[in-house]
């Protein structure tokens, strides 16, 4: 019985492993708790769940598992059945062009995967009660004429048996994913770009140097100190902000905060859509306090690595035409400025949060890629990893 519970937890996305499952059995064997469902709930949660973001998922599975077969069926429905069920209905209403577009987005399975995630998210936000999926929140699907109205996922609240109450309350519903700090993986990827050097105040003992020097002085102690090792890599980060980048704010924030923690020498500037004669550091005062690109190139030397983050999705005129900028009149085209920038910083990459499949269909991305001589990488962990290798 508990094995099924364990498997259901895994299916619901709570990362539990066999070690933890065995620990739970151990806890039961140690007679840690009496014959109380509520105690069992607390102990199981303590042992199996390692992150408060997963408390809500745990509560749902717990409720489903210990409530009876009917609800179990509904939980299964939530996690597996709709994909096939919906597909038939869905395909009928698609034109051949739309089908092609879906294929470009990574095919059916990827699309359904996204949908499933959306559904999960949406469930997490609706606290308790009914969980009907509306058309509103699932925008990309709405555009294709997808209408999941009437698909009910999850059950109603069970009766007011006292013992079930704790997990039925679902108090951690709004904690699910709200404290996301998923920068750990990003940081590990950024670590590829490390070059240690000793600079600054001499703070730590140089053991080899001390032994060497002491031996030279015939055993008379001569302590040598060296500065601590720091990551000496210098990074110049240009971030596209506003407009179409609003969809990617979260991943950019993650990247930014990880980079801040990882690189000691990090300079960052913002731009909108494409780089022209000036950039800025503070979005609230972007019209007042700008830094000219010439000044940036004079201030930061060639040893800086240039990382540009942007979706490069705009009208091609914004890149190749004088006066093409949507915000001001630019005497010279953005491409000219970008070429100067790339010449000043021979080690450069462009990180693009748009999915790779779309790159081919957006002319402005093609142009930018040519400018960067193909050093454009998707803003995913794998892409970041490759980008960091290129920069090394």
């Amino acid at each position: 019985m508990l094995i099924r519970f364990f498997l259901m937890l895994r299916a619901a996305g709570v990362p539990v492993s066999i070690t933890e499952f065995l620990a739970l059995l151990e806890a039961l064997e140690a007679r840690l708790i009496g014959l109380s469902a509520e105690d069992f709930y607390w102990v199981a949660r303590t042992v199996l769940v390692k992150d408060e973001r997963h408390y809500d998922r745990f509560d749902r599975v717990f409720a489903a598992h210990f409530r009876g077969a009917q609800d179990l069926f509904e939980a299964l429905l939530a996690s597996e059945v709709p994909a096939d069920w919906l597909r038939k209905d869905f395909e009928l209403s698609l034109s051949p062009e739309e089908k092609a577009r879906i294929a470009a987005l990574g095919g059916w399975d990827a699309l359904m995967e996204t949908l499933r995630k959306r559904l999960e998210e949406q469930k997490a936000r609706h606290q308790g009660g009914n969980r009907w999926i509306g058309t509103g929140g699932t925008s990309p699907f709405g555009a294709h004429g997808y209408n999941p109205e009437g698909v009910r996922i999850g059950g109603e609240t069970a009766g007011n048996r006292r013992a079930v109450k704790v997990w039925e309350r679902r108090e951690f519903a709004n904690l699910d994913d709200s404290v996301e700090l998923g920068t750990r993986n990003v940081k590990l990827a950024l670590r590829r770009l490390r070059r240690f050097a000793r600079q600054g105040a001499t703070e730590i003992l140089d053991l080899d140097g001390t032994i060497d020097s002491t031996a030279r002085r015939a055993g008379l102690l001569d302590i040598r100190m060296v500065p601590e090792r720091h990551n000496a890599i210098k990074v110049l980060l240009f971030l596209d902000i506003g407009g179409s980048m609003d969809d990617h704010v979260r991943i950019c924030e993650e990247l930014f905060s990880a980079a801040r923690g990882e690189f000691k020498h990090l300079e960052y500037f913002y731009f909108h859509n494409f780089v022209y004669e000036s950039v800025w550091k503070d979005n609230r005062r972007r019209h007042g306090e700008r830094t000219t690109l010439a000044r940036v190139m004079h201030t930061y030397g060639q040893d800086y690595r240039l990382v540009v983050v942007g979706d490069a999705t705009m009208s091609p005129y914004e890149i190749i035409q004088p006066g093409g900028s949507i915000e001001h009149w630019n005497e010279e085209p953005g491409a000219a400025w970008m070429k100067r920038l790339l010449a000043s910083y021979p080690r450069h990459v462009w990180l693009n949060p748009e999915p790779r499949e779309r790159w081919e269909f957006t002319p402005s991305i093609r142009i930018t890629r040519e400018l960067f001589e193909d050093r454009m990488y998707p803003l995913t962990l794998a892409g970041l990893d490759r980008a960091m290798r290129t920069l090394q």
């Binding site: 070690t19 607390w42 102990v43 408060e52 700090l181 920068t183 750990r184 940081k187 590990l188 302590i223």
Partner: protein, 288 residues
């Protein structure tokens, strides 16, 4: 099964909810480290102190900083003083063991009785830090290379680890821990907590203070919500200044800022936001 000394039920100066006590007892019985998270000021660090006091065992605290290395918790080899002693011809220099300085983990292992070990704010350290402690926490032993000696815990210490969520912890590490998230106490628990700290507080003052406190916590968009420890500070101030309960009453507080709010709101944007809300309330509440 369990002797009373092996169970923790809260103490006269610390209110543990049933779920917290259960988590602590699970960790004690099964000998796993307990990872405690929760909003700042909900008594994570205090938990270890109170458990040590309640079970009457020694407490070893290892406070983690951004520069902490896992080795510092095990032992450090003081090469510099050995070198110096060798210059001075000290006899001690012959034995390397004289220059091994045990860290908190070692001291907890060596403690004759079962000890409580607190690893405080583990998320402050480098992201690889928890990974370096896997074996030590799992097997409760480590090897001292300098003296070729295996240090093994005589009695598995009770390990508490606190985290403020500044960094994510690695999965391998999490798998070895039990986990408890200290939820922000509801007002009934809060009354108990205040009672423990200020016994015999006037009922009227307590009720008004608590309702003012939860009202502030409910203000949307606060950068730093006031927590239990701040409430306790605030009540201490209210008592010291002898503020009457009437001054905190809801209808008045709605149109004014609670006295001594500096103990609750720790940042000027929050104070500003709160003042604005109070101002809006006052305008809305004006008859007319």
């Amino acid at each position: 099964m369990n002797s009373p000394l092996n169970r923790f039920e809260g103490s006269d100066s610390y209110v543990a909810t049933g779920e917290l006590a259960l988590a602590v007892n699970a960790a004690i019985t099964l000998g796993r480290p307990l990872l405690v998270k929760g909003e700042p000021g909900t008594g994570k660090t205090q938990l270890a102190e109170e458990v040590a006091r309640a079970l009457d065992t020694p407490l070893f605290e290892w406070h983690i900083k951004s520069t902490s290395k896992s080795q510092q918790g095990l032992y450090e080899y003081d090469a510099v003083s050995r070198l110096r002693d060798s210059q001075l011809g000290d006899e001690r220099v012959k034995d390397i063991a004289n220059y091994i300085v045990p860290g908190m983990l070692w001291r907890a292992f060596e403690s004759g009785r079962r000890a409580v070990l607190l690893i405080d704010e583990i998320d402050k350290a480098d992201i690889e830090f928890p990974n370096d402690l896997l074996r030590e926490l799992d097997r409760m032993e480590f090897y001292v290379y300098e003296t070729r000696q295996l240090v093994k815990a005589r009695e598995r210490p009770i390990v508490f680890i606190t985290s403020n969520n500044e960094k994510e912890l690695p999965d391998a590490f999490l798998r070895r821990c039990f986990f408890h998230y200290i939820r922000f106490p509801d007002s009934a628990t809060m009354e108990q907590i205040v009672e423990v700290h200020f016994p015999g507080l006037k009922k009227s003052l307590l009720a008004e203070a608590l309702s003012a406190f939860y009202r502030i916590r409910d203000v949307p968009g606060l950068k730093k919500k006031p927590s239990t420890s701040e409430l306790l500070d605030w009540i201490k101030l209210l008592l010291a200044e002898d503020i009457p309960p009437e001054a905190l009453r809801a209808d008045e507080a709605k149109s004014s800022i609670p006295p001594l709010y500096g103990a609750l709101l720790k940042n000027e944007q929050d104070v500003h936001l709160f003042e604005q809300l109070v101002f809006l309330n006052r305008r809305a509440g004006r008859p007319g």
